[in-house]
Symmetry: C2
């Protein structure tokens, strides 16, 4: 399981054995049951997550309705907004499936970053990469219709369609569950 984390890190920097051991000694790994809520709206938290196995999601409750806006699966990292700006969280984070995560708080990161400045460089590279990806993602969302977005999702993250309930997918695509259902029927009809 640790290897997944080291594989991920190796995309950005090369770790010595000493550094690997320092990481392991932090005891970051957590098993989390499906449905567990990791973060609630209004809560302050220091924790950042890295998904080794499973799936977690971000959702808001707006007018009593759940609106899912993001999914994180294997090899995805998530530092909640409230950790960055030290304010209460605007959203919830929960487990879509039984998952294995690393959970690290700001203090631990601070500590390891000062001990091994390399990590700062990794974090910089990683955030920059993520930011650019996120930008492209947003651009695609803006410039396409719900139907195109759904077809695009089938191409890019086919696993999500299998492992995530449709009403969560719907808000992720910026529409209502009924519209997603209809849209899927429309696509099937076109194919035949």
């Amino acid at each position: 399981m640790q290897d997944i984390l080291f594989d991920f890190i190796s995309k950005y920097i090369t770790l010595t054995e000493e550094e690997k051991n320092a990481l392991v000694s932090l005891d970051l790994f957590r098993s989390v049951k499906k449905g567990t809520i990791l973060l609630k709206e209004g809560q302050k938290s220091q924790d950042a997550y890295f998904v080794l196995k499973g799936c977690i999601r971000i959702y808001y409750i707006i007018d009593g309705e759940e609106k899912t806006t993001a999914f994180y699966t294997e090899m995805d990292a998530l530092t909640p907004h409230c950790v960055i700006n030290k304010a209460p969280s605007e959203y919830f984070i929960s487990c879509v499936e039984d998952s294995i995560l690393t959970v690290s708080n700001s203090d631990m990161e601070e500590e390891i970053n000062t001990k091994f400045p390399k990590f700062d460089i990794m974090c910089r590279k990683f955030s920059e990469e993520l930011l650019a990806k996120q930008q492209i993602n947003f651009d695609e969302f803006k410039t396409s219709s719900p139907e195109q977005r759904y077809l695009n999702l089938i191409q890019k993250r086919p696993d999500l369609i299998q492992r995530v309930p449709q009403h969560q997918l719907a808000s992720y695509l910026g529409i209502k569950p009924q519209s997603l259902s209809r849209l899927r029927a429309r696509i099937l009809e076109k194919k035949s």
Copy 2:
């Protein structure tokens, strides 16, 4: 003009005179005329921008139509996707107004980052902050209607509505210019 840049940097790290001088000696400042295209689709570039004054935009050409997806104004920084992933650009960048920018290429950044490791830390903090902001932005976009998005824009970036042509705003809001026009008329009617 330089002070704007130093003001910005001071939000993240504290610079010594030596560091400031090193920055100035890089000769980063550029004046750019309205309409100038800074980056074209298909082009490879090393340049990142910081807006001291004016406004630049990202747009795609899809089926012969311009789709504007982002605006950068005073104190905004932009590292194009093609700089991060070293691939040809998917989009254009052009000047909405006569602007003053800093233009820095990857080599210069590399150089200054190794000379002053502090800059790596600043870049990390800045990317993380931007990433979190961007995420919230995207979430707001997903969870609201075109009309709500427009009203939201009036609140958050009222200047944009003044300084940017409406057909560019339209695609920024994920709709057609005619729809924005209609939507504005609808809002005015509601108020009265």
